[in-house]
């Protein structure tokens, strides 16, 4: 009786397989074990793949605004803007104006040294340049 339950449970996983793997018990057991192994490895690889996808999307969006991805990330980090790549990617797709504001912030932080050396000491317009302390 227990064996029949196990076979029933196996059938649930094997419906979409090709060939005798979806009909014959011995072949199905082996195929299902391989499938479970691939699924476990893929759960780890999914996190890596999602991150590379986010990075390429953010890079595309920053290049639209005239900057490069490493410059954006490094300067946002220096400004202590702790947005992760997932959020940055979503902003770049659905909130283009906010993303443009972030690139402007990163560009201002990037050019801070040059502005201090060559400019006239005024703060860049339209950028929060001091972290305000809550009282």
């Amino acid at each position: 009786m227990c064996k029949m339950l196990l076979i029933g449970v196996l059938c649930l996983f094997v419906q979409h397989f090709r060939g005798r793997k979806n009909r014959c018990y011995s072949l199905a057991v082996r195929a299902v074990r391989r499938a479970f192994v691939y699924a476990s490895k893929a759960r780890k690889a999914k996190r890596r793949n999602m991150r590379t996808l986010w990075i390429s999307r953010i890079a595309a969006a920053t290049r639209e605004h005239g900057m490069k991805y490493p410059a954006l990330v490094h300067n946002l980090l220096k400004c202590s803007v702790q947005l992760n790549r997932r959020v940055l990617c979503d902003l770049s797709i659905t909130e283009p104006r906010s993303f443009h504001a972030l690139t402007a912030l990163a560009r201002a932080r990037q050019q801070e040294g040059l502005r201090a050396a060559l400019g006239d000491g005024t703060e860049p317009p339209g950028v929060f340049s001091r972290i305000t302390q809550l009282q």
């Binding site: 996808l53 999307r57 890079a59 290049r63 639209e64 997932r86 990617c89 979503d90 659905t94």
Partner: protein
């Protein structure tokens, strides 16, 4: 994914645009990278390798491409016909004389990802040796991309006043 928001989609997000690049006096490798990026769709924030969101790219004036250095004589394109004694080697100059579009085509082919979508992307690349482009492609063009290399002026294009005003470093 839990962070999908239900904001409205922008107009024509997934449209396939037609881009034009003028390759006159430009390095073919830089032209090829620009083409490859846009054929794959990597210039769009909605990029995904499976979504087929690349654009069409039209390259014109490939007859007037400009390799830097001595690459016209030194760069060798090799191929093998499969038959014994069929190893062929052509310099870039010979290849260009035989087919003015081949250099850009091979460069872009090598820069695209080596998977089954590469052939469809190559079909979306249109290369013309001169600036004669067919009517139906001309009607589709939406944007011209800026050239990667700034073309330096020839000595004959400088006026006599500019030549005199140029600072003299030493007297020969």
């Amino acid at each position: 994914m839990s962070s999908f928001s239900r904001s409205a989609q922008q107009w024509a997000t997934f449209a396939r645009s037609w881009l034009l690049i003028d390759a006159r006096l430009q390095p073919p490798g830089k032209i090829a990278t620009m083409c490859a990026v846009r054929l794959q769709g990597k210039h769009k924030p909605i990029y995904h390798p499976l979504s087929d969101i690349g654009d069409h790219v039209v390259v014109m004036n490939t007859r007037h491409i400009a390799f830097s250095g001595n690459k016209w004589e030194q760069k060798v394109y090799s191929s093998h016909t499969g038959y014994p004694g069929g190893f062929k080697q052509l310099t870039a100059a010979q290849m260009h004389k035989k087919d003015p579009t081949a250099i850009i085509k091979l460069a872009v082919y090598g820069m695209l990802p080596k998977n089954l979508t590469r052939r469809t992307m190559m079909q979306r690349l249109h290369i013309f040796p001169d600036d004669v482009i067919p009517e139906d492609i001309l009607k589709n063009l939406t944007e011209e991309l800026p050239q990667p290399r700034k073309i330096p002026r020839k000595l004959s294009e400088y006026t006599q006043e500019e030549r005199d005003a140029f600072p003299l470093l030493w007297n020969p």
